[in-house]
Symmetry: D2
Subunit: 383 residues, 4 copies
C-alpha cells in the first residue's frame, strides 16, 4: 500500500477519546499512519473543561478544541469549506454513537464510528435511514476486517479453494474482566453498564467482532443463532461470557464463543473455516500468517508486499515487505485510508459501513433474545 | 518412568487387531514399550483363517494363534497358570467389546479394552456388573489420559493454581472422513455403521475422548449437555460432526466440538481450562508442552524427567529427559504399564476403567438424545 | 506510549525516498504515526524532475518539493524559523549519507539518517566530528532497537536475571538476493555496488543490524571478530553472505551469521543470549513475544500496555494493550518520536546516534579485513 | 512401519546401562518397541555385584545377568545357537566402546553401539578393521537419523527440490552442564573426563550428532572445519561449548554451534539447509514437522502414515497416522528395527554404522586440532 499517490488528507473532527480513553488513541494513530486523514478538531470529552484540555494535549489549535460535539458541528459548519472538517470520528461510549452520528449527518458531515454502531437494532435502523437521507459516507471500524490476511482468507473462500464450506469455529477470548474491574476502571465501568453499552456486554463488545469476521471471511450471512450468555462476576449487570451455535446462509454451521473472564488471555480472536477440500486458520495475535490446511499439505501464507502470491486485494493492503510484521494499528489504518479513498471518489475502497452496522445490531438482538428464552434458536433479522 | 523395577510381564491375549486394523498395532507397540506386558496369544480376526495367519505374522506361536476368542478363552484356561494368559486386550470394532469382555471376565481373565467400552449405556451397566461380579481388573484405553502434561494439567486445576474454574473449551477436529471413505475403507466402514459403532459416529469415536479429557483434567463430572449432531456426507448413517454446550458439577460451563469432516486436520484434540486466576492450554499434536497463562505472565511447561518442577505424578510418567519428545505410543504405553502394575498389586496406578466406561456411554446417550430433541438440555446419567 | 502529551511536531525534510524507493515510505509512515513529526519538504530523488514529481505525489506543496538537497538546504534556510524544516531525514543509497549529512549539519539542521551511517569507518569519523562541531542531533534508524521486547531483553540482561552472560547467537537470514536480482531491481542494484553501498554488501546491509542488536541487548561492546564473507551469485561485486565468531567486552562469545541468499527466508533477524542462569530468544518476525528460558521454567513475555509486568522502559514503548500486535512500523515510529523528544528537550529519549554510527562502521571495517586475511581475528576499533 | 511382518526377534546382550545410567534405559525401550529385538542377557555395570543386581532388576534370568562383559561373551558363546545372544548392545561410557566391541566381534557377535563409536580416530580405524575382519554387522545409534522427518529432509535435498545447496546452519544447544554438575552427577562426571569421554566434551557428545545430521541430510561430506572450543566452567577438563565454520564437498558452507552451558535449553538440535530454490528447517524438540520454505510459499510437512505425500522412505519410518506424534524413542526404535532387519537379511535397511563411526571420530579430531591451533582450517580425514 504505497503512500505515493497523494490524497488530499481528509479533515477529521473527533468526538470522545480524551485523556483516559482507550480507543481514541488507536483512531488517532490509525488516521495519521498513511497521511490520508488529518485530525483538525475535536470534542474529546463529555466534560467541557476536559474536552478543551484534551484538545490542547493532542495538539489541536485552541479554537478547534471544542467543549461539546454540538458546539463542534456548529462552529465547523461556519468555517470555509476548504478548512472545515469533512468527517466526524465517533469514539465515545456506545450510547452516544447514534445521537452524535445523527447530528453529524444532519449537519452534512461524513461519519466514521467505532463499533458497535448503536445501542440496539432499532437505533441501527434509524441510523441507516439517516445515512441514506443524508447521502454521506458512514464507516464502522471493525478493525479486524482491515488485516490483509483476513482479506486473503475471504479470497480463499470465494475462490473455491476450500470447496463447499462446512464448519466455522470462531472465538474471542479475553481475560481483562476476570475481576470486578468496573469498580475503578472507566473502560470497564461503561462497558458493563447497559445504559451506556447496550443490552449485551461481552457479546456486544467482542462477540460482534467475531460475528463480523465470520460474515466477512465466508461472504455469507449468519441466519440463525442459539446463544447462552453468562455473567461470572457477582453484581455485574451484563454478560461477560457467551457461547453460540449458528447457521449460515451458505449451509454451513459453527460455534462462536466469546469471553472476557478467561484470566490469562489477552485479545485472542481466532477464526477457522473448513470446507470439503481444506481449512484455514487465522489468529489476531499473530496476524501476519494465515495457515491453510489441505488434506495433502499445509501452507503458511504470510502477509507480504507485491512479490508474494497473495491475492491482489490482500497484497494491496500491505505497507511493508514480507518479514516486516504489521499489526493492529496498520489494520485500523487501512480502514481510515479506505474511508479517505471513498471520500475522494474511489467507491471500490472497502470500509465496513451501515450494512455491517445493521448486521451487528441484529446479531446482538438475536443473541440476547435467544439467551433469555433458554437458548432457543433465533433468526437474525436482515436490516 | 524407569524400567528398573522389574515387573514379571503380564501375559496378554489379544482379540481383534489383525492385518488391516489400526488400533491393534498401537496396542502392541504400547504393551511392548516398557516390557511390563507380553503378547502371548491372540484371536486377531473374526475370520478364522485370517486370525490364525495374523497370529503367525505377529510372531505368536502357532498353537496360540487362535481362530476365535471363544477358542482362545477355552484353550488358555486349560494351560498351567504360569503359562496361561492373564488378561485379554480387546481391539475389535465396538459392537464386540461387550461380548468379548463378558466372556473373558467369566473365564476369569482381566480385561483391557479399547474405547468406547460398549455400544451404549445399558451395555456399560451390564459390563460394570460383570466386572464387579468377577473381581477382575478392567482397563479402558482412553489414550490421552496417559500423557504426562495432561496429568500436569489435572494437577494444576486440583492445586488451585487457576482459581475457581469458569470455562472449558475442548475440541477434537479431524478431516479423515471428509469424503465418503466408508465405501472402500474398512476402518471408516465400521465406524459409520450403527450396528457396529453404536448410536453415534463422531461423538462416539472422538467426542468421548474430549469428554473424558474434560472430566479428568477438571476432576469434575459433566452433568448437563445440549448437543447438535450433524452428518455432512450424503448417505452416511451416523453423525460425523457435532457441537455441545455443557455444565460441570464444579459450576463451570463450556463448549465441546468434535468433527471428522474438517478437511486438512489430522488429530487435533485440544483443551483449554480457565479459572479466575489463569488458564491452561494443551494440544495433543504437540503434547510435550503445556501452556499456562496467568494475568501476569505465561509459562511453557515441558514434559520432562525428574529435574524439572513438574508435579510428582506427571514426572513419574516421563521416560526421557526434557527435550527428548515423547508421543502417542508413550502415552498409550503408560496405560499398559499402569494396568500391569495394578495386576501386580499396585492399586495406586491409574488406568481409566469401568467408571470411565459408564461416564463415556452416558455422555453418548445424552448427546444423542439431546440432538434428537432439538438440542434440548439433557442430564448425563451417573452410572 | 500515549499520544496525549503534545509535542509541537518536528518539521522534517526528506532526501531520497522517491517513487521506487523502499525505505523512504517506511520513514514516512513512521514519522507520521505518532504525530510527533511532520514531512514539510523534500528532495526525493537525485533526478531533479523525478524529485519534484515525487514531492507532489507525496503531498508536499510544490514550492517545497525541491530538485536537489542543496536546493532544499538553501531554500529552507531562507524561510522564517517557525516554518523552516528542523531536521533532514536521509533515505538515499549509502554513498550519499555522508555528503547530505555534512551539508545539513553545516546548514544548521538536525539529521536523522538511515543506516549504515556512511560508506566506511573514516567517513563515520568525519561525520562524528561534524556532529560534534555542529552541536546538532544525529539519529541513526537502527529499526530493531525500537521494538519494546528488544528493550525488555536489554533490561533482562542488565538486571542480572540471566546471570553472567556466556553466549550470544545472532542471525539475520534473508532470501531476496538468491538470484541475480541486481540486473533489473533498483534496490538490489545499488546494494550490490561497492561505490554506492560500501565495502560490504550483506554484512553492511543487515549484518550491521545484527551487530547493533548484540551490543544493545547485552549493553556490551563487540571487541574482536573472525569473519568469513562469501558471494554466491556469479558476477556479484559484494558479499551476499557471511559468518563470524566474536568476543564481547563482557567476556562472552558468540556467532553472527547473515545471509541474503537463503531462498525462502523473508527477514529473519533473531537473537539469543544465554547466561549462567538462563537465556532469552527474540525473533523480529514475531516481535511481540520474548521467550525467556530458565533452568526451571520458560516464560513468554508479551509486548503490552501498562498493566503487564514489563520493565518501565519497555512498557513505555507500547502503543496498544497486550494482544493487539505492533510491528515494524511501530518500532520505526518509536525512533522518530524519540528523535522528536530529543529535539524538544528530553535528552533521556533514546535514539541510536553517532556512537552507533561509529560502532557499525568499525564492525564492517573489521569484518571485511578479517575476511580478506583468511578469517584472521580482528579487533573492532572504538570510534 | 507395520509390525505385521514378523521377524524372529534378535537376541541382544547389553553391556553397561545399569541402575543409574541414562542411555541404557533408552536402548531398552527402543529395542522392545517394535518387538524386533529382545534383551536376553547383560553385563550392566563394571561393578560385578551391581551388574548382577541390575540384571535382575531389569528382568534378566539370573544365570544370564553377568558380572562382566568378558564373562558374558564366554558364557553366551557356550549356549546353543538358537538360545545364544546374537548381538551386543554397548551403552557404556565412551572409553569402553572399543574394547567391548572388539571382544564381541572377535567372539562372533554383531554389535550395536552408542556413539561416539570410540575415543578417537585411531581407535575408529582399529574398529573398522575389526568389523571388516569379523564380517559382522556394526550399528551406531545416531538417534536423530531415525526420525522420519530427517529422512524426508534428506529426500528433499536429494530430489533437487531446494536446488543447489548453499548454506547449512546446524546447532545443538543444551543447558544441563551450566554448573559444575560433574562433582556429583555420574553422567556429567564421565562426560567431562578425557580418559573416559575422549579429547572433546561437548563436541564429542553432541557436536557429533550435529555433524552426522549435516552429512546425512545433505548426502555430502564435511571436508574442512575451523573450530573454536571453549570451557566455561572453572576446573572443567573438557570443552563445554564450541563453534565451527565448515565446508562441504558439495560446495556449500555453514556454521555449526554446540553448547552444554546455555542455561534454560533442553535438547535443542536444529538444522536448516538452504539451496538456491528454497530451504528446510527441522528441530528435534518438535520432530513431527518439517518446515519447507520456498520463495513463493511455505509448507509444513508432517510425519504421517501411508496416506500423506511423504517420500516412501520417510513414510516407511512412521508407526502411527498423522496427528499422532512420535518422538525420541520411536526414532531410536527405528534404528533397532533396521538393525534387526539387516541381521535377518535385509541389507537395504539403514542403520548408521562403521562409516559414520569413522566420520564422527575424524570430525572430533579435526575440531580439536583446529581449536588448539588458533581455529586454523583443518581438513576432515576420510576413514
Amino acid at each position: 500500500m504505497s503512500d505515493s499517490v497523494f490524497l488530499e488528507p481528509v479533515r477529521i473532527g473527533m468526538v470522545g477519546g480524551g485523556a483516559d480513553a482507550f480507543i481514541g488513541a488507536v483512531h488517532r494513530h490509525a488516521l495519521r499512519l498513511d497521511g490520508a486523514c488529518e485530525l483538525v478538531c475535536g470534542a474529546l470529552s463529555s466534560d467541557t473543561a476536559k474536552a478543551k484540555r484534551s484538545g490542547l494535549d493532542f495538539g489541536l489549535s485552541p479554537e478547534r478544541a471544542y467543549g461539546s460535539y454540538q458546539e463542534m458541528l456548529t462552529a465547523e459548519s461556519a468555517l470555509p469549506p476548504e478548512q472545515r472538517m469533512e468527517a466526524v470520528a465517533i469514539v465515545t461510549p456506545n450510547h452516544l454513537h447514534l445521537p452524535v452520528a445523527l447530528a453529524a449527518l444532519e449537519a452534512g458531515f461524513h461519519v466514521i464510528s467505532d463499533k458497535p454502531a448503536t445501542l440496539n437494532f432499532e437505533e441501527a435502523q434509524t441510523l441507516a435511514a439517516a445515512v441514506k437521507a443524508a447521502g454521506k459516507e458512514y464507516g464502522l471500524t471493525h478493525t479486524y476486517l482491515g488485516y490483509p490476511m483476513v482479506r486473503e482468507a475471504r479470497h480463499l473462500v470465494q475462490s473455491g479453494a476450500l470447496g463447499t464450506i462446512r464448519k466455522i469455529y470462531v472465538e474471542y477470548t479475553q481475560g481483562w474482566l476476570s475481576g470486578a474491574l468496573e469498580q475503578d476502571n472507566k473502560q470497564a465501568a461503561w462497558r458493563t453498564d447497559p445504559s451506556r453499552s447496550g443490552p449485551s456486554g461481552c457479546m456486544g463488545d467482542i462477540g460482534t467482532h467475531a460475528h463480523s469476521l465470520v460474515e466477512y471471511v465466508t461472504a455469507s450471512r449468519m441466519t440463525d443463532i442459539r446463544a447462552w450468555l453468562q455473567t461470572h462476576i457477582v453484581g455485574r449487570q451484563l454478560d461477560d461470557d457467551g457461547m453460540c451455535f449458528f447457521k449460515l446462509e451458505n449451509g454451513s454451521t459453527g460455534a462462536l464463543t466469546a469471553s472476557q473472564v478467561c484470566a490469562g488471555e489477552e485479545n485472542q480472536l481466532r477464526i477457522r473455516v473448513y470446507g470439503e477440500k481444506g481449512g484455514l486458520d487465522w489468529s489476531q495475535e499473530e496476524p501476519n500468517t494465515l495457515m491453510v490446511k489441505y488434506a495433502d499439505g499445509r501452507q503458511m501464507r504470510h502477509r507480504a508486499g507485491s512479490n508474494m502470491p497473495l491475492s491482489a486485494d490482500a497484497a494491496s493492503m500491505c505497507r511493508t515487505p514480507a518479514g516486516h510484521p504489521e499489526g493492529y494499528l496498520e489494520a485500523f489504518g487501512t480502514l481510515y485510508i479506505n474511508f479517505a479513498r471513498r471520500l475522494r471518489g474511489d467507491q471500490t475502497a472497502f470500509v465496513p459501513g451501515i450494512s455491517e452496522a445493521l448486521r451487528g445490531m441484529a446479531f446482538i438482538q438475536s443473541v440476547v433474545a435467544s439467551s433469555e428464552q433458554n437458548n432457543a434458536w433465533k433468526e437474525i433479522q436482515n436490516g
